[in-house]
Every structure is written in structure tokens, then in C-alpha cells.
Symmetry: D2
Subunit: 283 residues, 4 copies
């Protein structure tokens, strides 16, 4: 971390010397490292979209705490990102468990003195199946992890954000919230619920200067979404509704999340941004 | 019931004699009793919106099975509606319990030979509170009753609809799905989830010729919504966003539900109709 | 007209005699002829969706004034509907011309003493073409007829509605407002504009007790929409997005319009109802 | 321009030397000057939101051509931005005139060899008034400038983007597209139309690798929106619907536009991002 800061210092020095005529904002740390000194928690971030977001937040200057249910995955992600010179630590966290949520927040507070950013990424496998066949067990798992855990983790984090005078939360939903993925009923419903959760949290948390926004990725090629693209026909069906004729990459989702957490997004709250290659979503 | 049918027969006779030049559709039972011979289940229907819907479906010709958690309330509602000459029976049903859901469906099958219509009305009290303060217990109660029970009741009903060659489901959400009611976080989120449930069930059930639509009432003056209107200031805040400057009445919600279940709505599925006096909802 | 009223009287008599135990509302003219004595203007109503709406409003008790750009078509539609015993007259009206709009309103006032209902149906042919190729001439024609004429006709009608203490307007948009039809760029945009026009008019006209709602039909099989379904491939593409696997019929759109104009819809304003067989539209 | 490029080169050099361990993406020109070497047209850009966007695109590395209806305003904006060391030129352009639109595109091609980015900002004064009072003259002016001119300017620009293998368009709508501003009927409708224009252009232009997105600002404090905030009561009404209790600043809108034009947004097309301090818009 010290190393990274040092390098920023060098860059800033170079910057100041070479481009004096440009407004500081376009040159300084704000633009190049828009999240400098921010502390960010990212759940389900050892792989796929969550991992890409964690990396990007760190590249943009944040101290990032990654997490997922398996310590081994956490260790590997941390090693990879630290190997890239990024300020990243990690802790095991099952977001469905109160003690894990508390430990995640406590870890960030202990290491970095507080929390500024929370990225709540869904952690549960999108069980393949229709609503008409859904069991209570599967329903509960999906809704609890995708929706309730997001609400409860927010509840755990907000006091820390309030102490720092504000913060930014991004909830990862899906374009399936608008335009259901085939055969993923409970998953789709949980993603629609997150649109409402975003609006409600934005309203409630405005008083503490906490902004809450939402990302709705399309079909992103990850191990997580394999059920959607490993079947050639299903992939073709979904691609038929896309304007940009490729599956998304995790990195396609990372820039907008970093943006939404930055000062540039200070007047944006309660909104959902769809990153889905042009799949129909909403007007 | 026999009496009601008899009366319909008399009316039809009078109709046929007096207005021969008009197309049958505008005169016959379809227009005047658009739900004639249909069997309808309505949950949470012994009071408020559910009761108004049950009465209207019966007035429009359906055999209606009302239900709610308390036998006493069921008895009273049945007595009232039978006293109006309507074909209404009832059974106690806690929609959160599998055996109750099954008994509800079985009652309709036993009495009327099947089910054509399901109106899934929320049964849980809208606990007053913010998401930031929500307990797991309250969250679970609201989401389980409002969303999961709707999914599971649908699952129980659809085989009966399929046997009859189709059916119609209306899910009662709320304008709060779009435009959150203050201090009712978990309730609001559950109502947004129902928008997604509607879309997903419409997709899944089309193969059995079952249409699924959604009603999103605004602030309707019922005992259920008392938390919203008993506080003068809160009521004024909500009214400020209305174009029609009064609280809704349960009857304001009944006509559209009957319409959505009728032949006239045969090409409508997956849609939500807002009945909220002009509160902002969606484009 | 006298004849129709007489018949209603006979029916009412029969009704009163045979079904005394049922609440009047379910028996009386309100339910069976929900638009009794209402005066309705319907534009572009000598064919297709407009014609089906005009017929239905008349069947539901309204005095209807049909109109379109060609006197011959008006004469034929009036003859057909009068032949069905309905209270229908007509007048030639090019909604893009101020004098025609005024004459349309004046006709209704002269014949029936006022106006209660306006159905603004688009009259312009949906020129087949992309926005990237659109000429100013085509753009102007489509936007002027579909959007501006609706606004100006409303302006001409509202004073008459205000005199009667209120009224109801239904604007015919299209599901293409949400989910664009291929190769119909300017048409699609004009239909999205109508969603906004509906919201804005609902807000402005609430003070005169005029409700404004919108119908968004899907692909309805009419001569008007021939460009969409005469090409087999295009029709298949659109059907692929439908849950109900058939093109709509004009009658599929008529019931909801009559409903929206009835007392049953008294608490509904500013809303759009999609009748599109389950094509994706909005949450 | 050469100067700016030189400075970029120096920065890159410094960067390469000092921060080798970090992935190039986080260090290189892409992240710090995400629009380096891009050529951007911005209409209505000598003041307010358009000016803030033009400045930001230039700060982020683009060569920007500003424009508005008055040469004097163009000269002043260019002088200001060049004085900040930015690569900005300008030309007078009334977007409602074909020759002006063509000259605008030709200017960019002549100066910079092509066009990569178009920001279509509305240029017409938001005439204060209701739809019920609107004249054809005012309606035409607002719809023609805000909507038709955007379509026609796009038509003029796309061939140039196609030559370069792709491009990015951002259309400036308004939160009033969803949640109408009081007493600005025609303006509001034109902004809703732009949501549809965005969707349609995104579909049509995908084949040339041109992405089309939309910005929906809330109440931004500019001379343009003075009618909305100079009246204390109207300002308070609008603020009451905001979660972030201040009017927006033009700069609040600039970052997201630059983002949408950058590589980071490569998988985003057809979407509208609301920047309105939490005013209700859409789910």
C-alpha cells in the first residue's frame, strides 16, 4: 500500500511538472485515481464479475477487501491482485450469516479505519429451474442470499459509512430483472427485487449521504453463468436479443461500478445501469 | 348457486327476446356475466381489497372461494356475500402453509370441479419500519407471505387450471413497487418482487394457456393500510403525489381484476395495471 | 338511438324483476351498459383497432362518432354499426387539420350535447423504414399525426368535457413504444412520445376530472400493420417474442378501452395498458 | 493539439517509468485520458450542461468541436476551453438546419479527420406552458429541435463514424421524460420521445459498431432551466422529490457522458442513465 501511494506520488509529480495548464481535476488524483483512499468491500469477489470489480476499484485507488465463502478462493484472489501491486486484502464471508457480515465490516474497519464503498454481488448459484417447479429450499436460498443478505449487509455497513460522512453502495442485479433469463425463475425474481431494494435504500440512506445504485449485467461469460451459455441453444437465444453480438466480459461491468462510486457520480442515486449489450430492459 | 344460475337464465331469456339486433357478445352472458361458470380463488379476501375483488368476481358470474387466516372472518365474509345472492364459499387458509394452500385448491375442486382463476392478494400486515432497522424475522414474514406464498400457491393451482385448458392469475402488488411508500421498506421490496414474479409466471405458464397479470393499487383506504393514512402528515404526503385527490376505495381495484380474468383480456399477459389515482409509477 | 334506449329499458325491466337480491350495480345499466349515455369520439375508426373500439363503446352504451380521412369509409363504418343496432354516427376528419378537429367536436356537441370520451387512434400509415434513412417529410408526417394531432385534438375536446364535469381520454400507442418494431423507426419513436403525452395530459387535465390513459397494442392483424406481418420472416420474429402465439385481433384491444372509459376505472389515470400477447414491455 | 499530445506523451513516459508493477490498463492513456484521440461533436455546448460535457470530454483527451446558434457564444466557449489547455474548436450550428448540421460534421472531418463521438444536447428554450395551451408553433419548435434534429444530426454523423469503425452517441434527455416537470408539457413529451429515439438508434446503429445511450439530467441549475428554479415555490416542489437536497450542477452530468463514450462502456448501448439526485424515474 505504501508502495502504491508512493507511485501515485511520483505520477502526481510528473503530472504537475508536465501539464500545468490543464485544470487540476483532469490531472490530479481525483481523475486518475478516482477512488484514492476509499475503502471498499466487495462480496462474491474471488471470481467473475465480483473479481473484475474488486480489481478495478483497487486500480482506481481504493483499498479493497475481497470476500467469498471459501478461504482458499479468497487467498488466491488476494494473491493475484496483490501481485498486480494493488491494495487488496480479503476475508472469508458467507453473506447469509450475521457473524460473517459483521466480521467483513470489522475487517475493513480494523485494516483501513472504516468503510466508504460496498459492492453487494450475488453469491448464490443460479439454480436452473422454473418457478413452477421450485422448492421452498431453493427459493429461500436464492432470495435469502441475493436479496435479504444485501439488505442486512447494508444495515451492517451503513453505521461505518455514516461515521465517515457518507458512502456509496452498488448492488449487482441483472438484466434478467427486466427481461427474464429462461428457466431461472427464482433467480430472475430475486434480481427484480434488487431493483426495489436499490430504490428503497437510496431513499432511506440519503440522510447519511450514502448513495445507492444498481448494476444490471447482461449475460456475462463466467463460471457462475455457465448454465446460461454452456447450452448452445440457450446462448443463441439470449444473443438473438443482444445488439452487441457477444457475451459480456466481467471487465465490461467493472468500469461503471467504479464510476458510480466516484465523485463524478455524486448526483446519481437510486438508479440502475444496465450493461447488457443492448438486451431490451426498460425505457 | 342454483338460484343464481336460474336468475341468469331468466335474464338471458329476457335479453334474447328484447335485443335481437345486437351481436350476441354484447348481450349474452359473456358481457353481462363475463366470468360466468368460472371458479375463482381469492386469498386475503375477507376484508379490504381482497373482499371487494371477491364480491366483484361473484357479481360477474364466478363461483368464488374466499379465504383468510381466521375462520371467523371467513364465515362473516361468506355470510355477507351469500346474503347478496352471490355464489361464494370460503375456507380458512394461511397461504404460508403448504397444507392450507393445498386445502384451498382442494376445496374449489371439490365444490366446483376445478379452478379457473386465482387472485393472490398479500396477507401480511405491512410492518411499519425502514430497511435499515429491519429484523430477519420481519423480513422473512413479509417476503415469505407476499412473494414466496404467491409462487407456491400458483404452483399448487396451475395443474388444476391446466386440466381445464387454461386460466387466469392476478397478483396484487402495489404502486409502492415503483414509488416506495415511506417507512415500509420490506413491504415495498416485496411488491417490486411481485412485478418480476408476474413476468416470470406469465412466461412459464403460457404453455398451459394461463395468463398472469398484476394489479398495483395505490393508497387504498382499508384497515390494512391504516399505517399509511392514520397519520395525517403521511396521508397528505402521499396525496400530494396523486392526481385524483382522494384515497382509493377497495372497489376501485375490483373492476380491473375482473376484467383481467375475462375473455376481453385474452391477449393480455405479463402486465401490471396501476390503480393509484395518478401516483407516478412507470412509463 | 331511441330504439337502443328502448331495448335497454326492456332489459332493465327484465333485470329488475328477475334478480332482485343482487346489488343494483351488478345488474343495472352501469354494469351491462357501462358507458350508457356517454358520448364518444373515436379517430381513425373506420377500420382495424379504431373500428373495433368504436363498436365496443357503442355496444357498451355510448353514442359514438366515428371518423377517418375518407367520407366513403366513414359512411361504410356508420352503416355497418347502425345495422347492428348501435348508436353510431360519423364525420370525415383529418386530425392533422384544425378545422377538421373542430368540426369533429362540433358534430358530437350538436348531435349529443357534448363529449365525454375521446379515443385518439393514430391515423398515419407506419412508413416502413429506418431512422437512419428517414426524410424530414416522413418524420413530420408521422410525428405530426401520431403525437401533435393527439395533443391538439385533446385541446379541442377538453373544454367540452369540462362543461360536463369530466371525461376520459384513451390514447392508442403501441408496444413498439417499449420494444421497437423492426424497420419502423419514426413510428416507434412517435409511440414512445405518446407514453409521455399520456402522463403529461393526465397531470394537466386532472383538475377538470378528465382521466387520460393509454393503450399499447402489440402486433394486431390489420391492414394498417400489414408491413409487419405480410413478410413471413418479420412476423415470425415478432411472434418469437410473444407468449401467446398468435397475432392480436382488433377486438383484443376494444374491451380494455371501454373499461378505461367506464366508472370502474375512476381511480386509474396516467397509465398505459399493454395488450400484446406477452411481448416484453416494461416492469 | 500537438501540445496536448506532447503532454500526454510525457505523462505516459513518467507513468511507464514509475508504476511498472500495475497493469497497463490502470496506468496508460486509456484510464487517464479515456477519450484520447477521439473526435467529439457537442451541440448546444457553449453554456450549461453542454459546456460542462464539452470541457470534460476534452479533459479526458478528446478533440472537441463545440457549437451553438450564436457565433459569439461559440467564440467565448472556445476561448475559455483553449485557455485551459484543451483541444477545443467550435462552429456556429443551428441544429434545425440541414446545412448547419452538415457544416458541423464537415468541420470535424476537416480539422480532425473524422468523428467518433456525438453528444446531442437540446438547444431549444423550454417554453413555459401547458400542453392544453400549446400552440402549433411552440410544439413544432420544441419537437423539431429536441427530437427531429437529433435524429437528423445522427443521420449526418453516422457515415463518418462508420468510416472509423464505430462510435458513440449520447443523447441528452431529462428526468422529466419519466417524471414531468410542472408546466413544461411539450418539453417533457419531447424528452420522453428521446428515450425511444435512443432505443431505436441503438438497434439500427449496432451494425456499424455505434453505441447510442442517453443522459437524463434532473433539475440542473443553468440559465436554460431558469424557469424551473427562479420561482422559489416551483424549485421547492421539485426539490421535495429529490433525495440529494440540492439542484444539480452541470458538472454532475459530465462524468457519466465521458464514461459512456469510453472503452469502459463498450457493452452498454440503448440505455438511459438518470442523474437527478434521486428524483423518481424508473425501476
Amino acid at each position: 500500500m505504501v508502495g502504491a501511494m508512493l507511485k501515485v506520488g511520483l505520477l502526481l509529480g510528473a503530472c504537475a511538472r508536465s501539464w500545468k495548464s490543464v485544470r487540476m481535476a483532469s490531472c490530479g488524483v481525483a481523475r486518475r485515481h478516482p477512488l484514492a483512499n476509499k475503502v471498499a468491500l466487495v462480496t462474491a469477489s474471488t471470481d467473475g464479475i465480483g473479481f473484475a470489480i474488486a480489481r478495478r476499484l483497487a486500480q482506481d485507488g481504493a483499498h479493497v477487501v475481497v470476500s467469498s465463502r471459501k478461504q482458499q478462493n479468497v487467498d488466491q484472489a488476494v494473491a493475484t491482485l496483490q501481485g498486480e501491486g494493488l491494495s487488496v486484502t480479503g476475508t472469508m464471508c458467507h453473506v447469509g450469516k450475521a457473524e460473517d457480515r459483521e466480521r467483513l465490516v470489522a475487517t475493513a474497519v480494523k485494516l483501513h479505519g472504516g468503510v466508504d464503498i460496498l459492492i453487494s454481488n450475488a453469491a448464490v448459484n443460479p439454480f436452473f429451474g422454473n418457478l413452477i417447479d421450485v422448492t421452498e429450499e431453493v427459493w429461500d436460498k436464492i432470495l435469502d442470499i441475493n436479496v435479504k443478505a444485501t439488505a442486512l449487509l447494508t444495515k451492517a455497513v451503513v453505521p461505518e459509512m455514516a461515521k465517515r460522512g457518507g458512502g456509496s453502495i452498488v448492488i449487482v442485479s441483472s438484466v434478467a430483472a427486466y427481461s427474464p433469463f429462461p428457466n431461472l425463475g427464482a433467480y430472475n425474481v430475486s434480481k427484480t427485487a434488487l431493483l426495489g431494494l436499490t430504490k428503497n435504500l437510496a431513499i432511506e440512506l440519503a440522510q447519511w449521504n450514502v448513495r445507492v445504485n444498481c448494476l444490471a449485467p447482461g449475460l456475462i461469460k463466467t463460471s457462475f453463468s455457465r448454465v446460461l451459455w454452456e447450452n448452445q441453444e440457450r446462448e443463441e437465444n439470449i444473443k438473438a436479443g443482444m445488439l452487441i453480438k457477444r457475451l459480456g466480459k466481467p471487465e465490461d461491468c467493472a468500469g461503471i461500478v467504479s464510476f458510480l462510486c466516484s465523485e463524478d457520480a455524486n448526483y446519481i442515486t437510486g438508479e440502475t445501469v444496465v450493461v447488457a449489450g443492448g438486451v431490451l430492459s426498460h425505457l
